[in-house]
């Protein structure tokens, strides 16, 4: 599904990723772990196509298509989603309006009929229950005045609504208390199928207790230095990252 080969990339001329190779198949959940500054978020930004990041070498393909030639919205419309580490506030634009615009952009892209307000409300009420969010949330502006937990739940709600095939969860566990973490993890777990894939970026293995990863990759200084199954997360928890550093 997602295939990254020898990816070298960075920002403002500074190289951050130094030869990443990663292949994610349908139905798999991969976790990328590493310290701050190891390049985790850069990887997420390169996959989603953020403007200021540049690819210096290598390739990224999604379902066999070169992703790097596509605009961020084309990537989104073709099924790539990112749950942001720091979701952005858009004052004055309410969540209903925003979500409906996003969903309709996707439906239109897939040559399907756009949803009218009534059908959309019906759909969104169902999705709200999945992340235990109150309906009042819909009339609030996008992420405006949201607590950390609300922001992350909102990201998951967007994911459940847009139904992407490949989702990046960028530090989705950070800033969450245990209850919110469970809600978010349940949201993801119930969304997992053998067709959908995930890339979970995290510092800690805490999140991985709730979402069972198929693979764990340790990122140090822009390179994947070790890959393994979920036991690797426990090992990291115990020993830290230093034993993997040269």
């Amino acid at each position: 599904m997602l295939n990254i080969q020898n990816l070298h990339a960075g920002i403002n001329g500074k190289k951050i990723l130094k030869g990443i190779n990663l292949s994610v198949n349908p139905g798999e959940l991969h976790a990328i772990m590493g310290r701050n500054g190891s390049g985790k978020s850069t990887l997420a930004n390169i996959i989603t196509g953020r403007d200021s990041y540049e690819v210096m070498e290598g390739s990224v393909s999604f379902n066999g298509i070169n992703l790097l030639d596509m605009s961020p919205e084309e990537r989104a419309l073709s099924g790539i989603f990112m749950s942001f580490q720091y979701p952005v506030v858009i004052p004055g634009v309410n969540n209903t309006y925003f979500l409906r615009a996003a969903l309709n952009a996707k439906l239109k892209h897939n040559n399907l009929n756009e949803l009218n307000a009534v059908d959309f409300m019906r759909l969104i009420r169902e999705k709200l229950k999945l992340v235990k969010m109150d309906e009042k949330y819909l009339s609030r502006a996008v992420n405006d005045g949201f607590s950390g937990g609300e922001k992350k739940r909102n990201e998951i709600l967007q994911m459940l609504t847009l139904e992407p095939t490949f989702s990046i969860l960028d530090e989705t566990d950070s800033g969450l208390d245990i209850d919110a973490l469970k809600i978010v993890a349940d949201g993801v777990n119930n969304f997992r199928t053998n067709k959908r894939s995930f890339l979970a970026i995290t510092h800690y293995q805490r999140l991985l207790e709730y979402m069972k990863p198929d693979f764990i990759h340790v990122l140090i200084d822009g390179q994947i230095v070790k890959s393994g199954d979920k036991s690797l997360a426990l090992e990291l928890e115990e020993k830290g990252y230093s034993w993997l550093e040269k």
């Binding site: 196509g49 961020p72 919205e73 989104a76 952005v88 858009i90 004055g92 925003f98 952009a105 892209h109």
Partner: protein
Amino acid sequence: MQNGPVAAAPAFLCNPMAKSNQVIDSAISREYEYGFVTDIDQEIIPPGLNEGVIRLISSKKNEPDWLLDWRLKAYGQWLKMEEPNWAKLQYSKIDFQAISYYSAPKEKEKLKSLDEVDPELLDTYTKLGIPLEEQKMLANVAVDAVFDSVSVTTTFKEELSKVGVIFCSFSEAVNNYPELIRKYLGRVVPVTDNYFAALNAAVFSDGSFVYIPKGVRCPMELSTYFRINAANTGQFERTLIIADEDSHVSYLEGCTAPMRDENQLHAAVVELVAHKNAEIKYSTVQNWYPGDPKTGKGGIYNFVTKRGSCLEENSKISWTQVETGSALTWKYPSCILKGDNSVGEFYSVALSNNFQQADTGTKMIHIGKNTRSTIISKGISAGKGQNTYRGGVKIMKDATNARNYSQCDSILIGDECGAHTFPYIDVRNPTAQMEHEASTSRIGEDQLFYCNQRGISTEDAVSMIVNGFCKTVFNELPMEFAVEAQKLMEVSLEGAVG
């Protein structure tokens, strides 16, 4: 601020956008939708301004002598005044002798009904989305249609007169209600108030007049639609709205003009008077031709004086403006809060795209006790546009417990535009409560990316973000027009993002 700075505390904000953002790039702009010219026989007096021209305008309107004298006095004052240059606007000097001061569609005979209005004119208004024919009229909105220097027709007049509401052209009012005109004309904006107000007083040709009698809540929205058509003419209309005790009225004006290479002058005066417990809500959707998007050539010079007087206690005046057109905008709708417990409000969205420049804001003068004012200003700059908020809040000595809340937000799209804020605050009573908030931001790359990542195109994202930014102001517009304003914003912003 016609009287110049009171206590200068200018906060200069100019935030060029980081060049890294290549997503935003001002490019082509969509054509101005209302730029057509109506081919109609018009009576235009030759360009130039002198006493003779003023006498001619007055005689064309069969005005009483007192009004001619009033005009001539204004003209005498104007000659002694100097064009103000304190605004943050750059333009070449206006040649007042090159402008024609009167242009009117030729009438065959005096019109008795709409059937006699030239079909070309009716067609023009239909094209502008303001059908005047009975069967097509906007429900519950009465319209006074002003074409160049004259009012073409006013709809729903009879229905309104049943409840005692007077809504007619200014010229008609001069003839039919001279005592009201004499009592109120120039009472809020004196002839000598400022250069453009004096010019308007000398040469004004038409406009709208509204009188809401005691205890009447006007049963429909009133609106005036201003259209400039003839070349090389100026439009100088005057609007006077009087809300008598315990009355209520909501009024809206809209404006468009053809696309021309020459700049055209629009210098209007609006006076509002609210008596005891009365409320006037005045909304403007200004969409004059902004000039060529690529060269900046042409466009309307919009120099307007608008002021309302909350004359007696518990009165309220609320200004809402959406300014998306004009090459230049110089406009400060203000409130004089004389009556105790009176309320003044100003809600503004001003957009400067391409080569547009806007210097706009408000003045709130607190005279009475417990007077309150609210100022919400939203400035949007795109292309090479320059957008200035200029606002004054003055609390006079006797205005015990006066309160003001001001919020001025600016948003920048692209890296060649500017936003500037000049708040002037003058407090002479220690019980006053003042709050001022200001912000300048650019449409963030992070906001756009967030929208893009959800599959929303950059253009849709910009219009979504800008509309969100303007929401508190759009909410103040009458419902029918809030949607219009939102659409207008989308059209005016088109091309702001490459």
